[in-house]
């Protein structure tokens, strides 16, 4: 989805070819990911944190909690409540100067992000508490919501919060009539459709799926399959980032790969 609340959100008619002879503008094949690097534990004060560098995206995720609920009336006596705040800093985009804090787009992303982590976190283990997840986009380059969630998942692991799974995903879309994985900013703005997907890699359940633009049923289903293949690679990077900080034993032997083959 277009990163800005401007007319750029209107479905664009691409002025130039974004894919030529099966090769995208930046030299990638349709299924290729951009360069991706994740670092766990980059902040001192936060209980857990991660920095993701994905294409030109630079996104910081930091977690606090479980801690006392504020405001109190939000408290749930049976489980922890999850707060998820997504925001882009004012200097994050190539376009005009923005503002601090979440706009309408960011509030919606925070909401669907919260739902992803409500699925993953064992909230019932921490009644009457809240867990705060902060996703701050320092530089945006398309696919920030999935990148932010991929980083936030690791920040939660870094904070020692028990989870069923480490949510992971990628954005897929239709660019110049071709389904591609991991759209960059230009493809996002000028392509025909964008579909960010977050999976629970252990079960491959879909925890987040948004779509804009026009797609046939077959394109949506093929998009989900392409997203799954790409997500597998992103998930390997997640596990590697945890191993880099905690060692292979702590990151756990990831048996999800075996299950997924079934």
């Amino acid at each position: 989805m277009a990163e800005e609340e401007t007319a750029a959100m209107a479905p664009g008619k691409a002025p130039k070819k974004l894919i030529e002879n099966g090769i995208r503008n930046d030299g990638r094949k349709p299924e290729d990911l951009r360069n991706l690097k994740i670092t766990v534990g980059v902040l001192k004060k936060a209980a857990g944190s991660a920095l993701i560098e994905w294409g030109k995206n630079r996104i910081m995720a930091g977690v606090y909690g479980p801690r006392e609920v504020f405001p109190k009336h939000n408290m749930n006596p049976n489980k922890a409540i999850i707060n998820c705040r997504y925001a882009m800093v004012p200097f994050s985009s190539l376009e005009e100067h923005g503002r601090f804090g979440p706009n309408r787009r960011a509030i919606e992303i925070g909401k669907v992000g919260k739902h992803v982590f409500e699925n993953a976190i064992l909230t019932e283990q921490f009644p009457k508490t809240m867990i705060d997840i902060n996703i701050d986009v320092l530089q945006s380059d398309g696919g920030t919501r999935v990148a932010g969630i991929v980083a936030a998942a690791l920040a939660l692991v870094d904070a020692g919060i028990p989870m069923r799974d480490i949510p992971c995903g990628v954005s897929v879309g239709k660019v110049d009539g071709t389904l591609v994985a991991d759209l960059d900013k230009t493809e996002d703005n000028l392509g025909q459709s964008d579909m960010p997907v977050i999976f629970s890699p252990r079960t491959w359940d879909i925890l987040l799926l948004q779509m804009d633009g026009m797609l046939t049923k077959k394109e949506v289903m093929d998009g989900i399959d392409l997203a799954r293949i790409a997500t597998q690679r992103v998930h390997e990077m997640q596990v590697a980032a945890l191993e880099a900080k905690y060692g292979a034993a702590a990151a756990g032997d990831d048996d999800s790969q075996d299950e997924s083959a079934a």
């Binding site: 409500e118 579909m195 026009m214």
Partner: protein, 256 residues
């Protein structure tokens, strides 16, 4: 809180017996009606009713400044207001995440489907028409999204363009209808227990663990999707929801 738990226990128990509060099939809509041109002052309006849920869409046209990167295109903007009269949980104040999500999900489908040809809203250098659609929820008994799509589309279909003269709108003189290229309808599914049902009532939404909205703009064309709620959905579940959304499209189009 407690009443929600009671509702949930009741609904989940019915699900186990494979039935619903109102004995509907899992993929059936309640009775739908759409009243068009309910108000005269705005350029377009409609009220959609699904069961006891009532959503009003009001459409105003205004002279607007185009976005810098699209100087010859009109603009569309959606907003949703959850009036405190519609549900005991709704409070007055700035829009919360639910109303922002609703407005953005309806916006996404109608914008993606290119329902309005934005080039036709160009008036003159630096001046375009803005289409402002406000969704006013007055009675929330479940499935606001599908009602909001119906009301928005009906408002768009009935909207009339006012006369434009010297950079101003003469609202008393309405001429041509607003050009609308295609119709978008949505189907919203809720996962309740291990079942997926269409057009949830309020007590079913309270019991739901996850929601998927799929908007369609053609016989085999989707134009928006939104998944929310904590539950995960499998690939197979998505596929069958898409089939249902495409199959229900004809039924919903009758009301626009």
């Amino acid at each position: 809180m407690i009443t929600n738990e009671v509702k949930e226990a009741f609904v989940l128990d019915l699900m186990k017996k494979n039935t619903r509060v109102d004995s509907r099939g899992m993929l059936d809509y309640r009775q739908i009606s759409v009243q068009k041109e309910v108000y005269e002052n705005c350029e377009g309006s409609a009220m959609a009713q699904i069961g006891d849920t009532k959503v009003i869409a009001g459409l105003k046209l205004d002279v607007a400044t185009p976005f810098g990167d699209r100087p010859t295109q009109g603009v569309i903007m959606f907003n949703a207001e959850f009036s405190p009269v519609a549900h005991p949980d709704f409070t007055a104040g700035p829009p919360d995440e639910r109303s922002i999500e609703l407005a953005r999900v309806v916006d996404r489908g109608i914008r993606s489907a290119e329902c309005i040809d934005l080039d036709k809203l160009y008036m003159e250098e630096g001046k375009v028409l803005g289409v402002f659609i406000d969704l006013f929820i007055i009675d929330h008994n479940g499935n606001l999204t599908d009602a909001a799509y119906l009301a928005s589309m009906a408002a768009l279909r009935t909207a009339k363009m006012p006369k434009y003269e010297d950079g101003k709108l003469i609202r008393e003189e309405r001429t041509a209808p607003l050009p609308v290229a295609r119709d978008v309808v949505s189907c919203t599914f809720e996962k309740v227990g291990d079942k997926i049902l269409l057009d949830a009532r309020e007590e079913e939404e309270v019991s739901s663990s996850g929601r998927v909205t799929l908007a369609t703009c053609g016989d085999d064309l989707l134009c928006a999707s939104q998944k929310s709620g904590r539950a995960g959905f499998s690939r197979a579940e998505f596929e069958s929801m898409i089939d249902t959304a495409l199959a229900k499209r004809k039924e919903l189009l009758k009301y626009i």
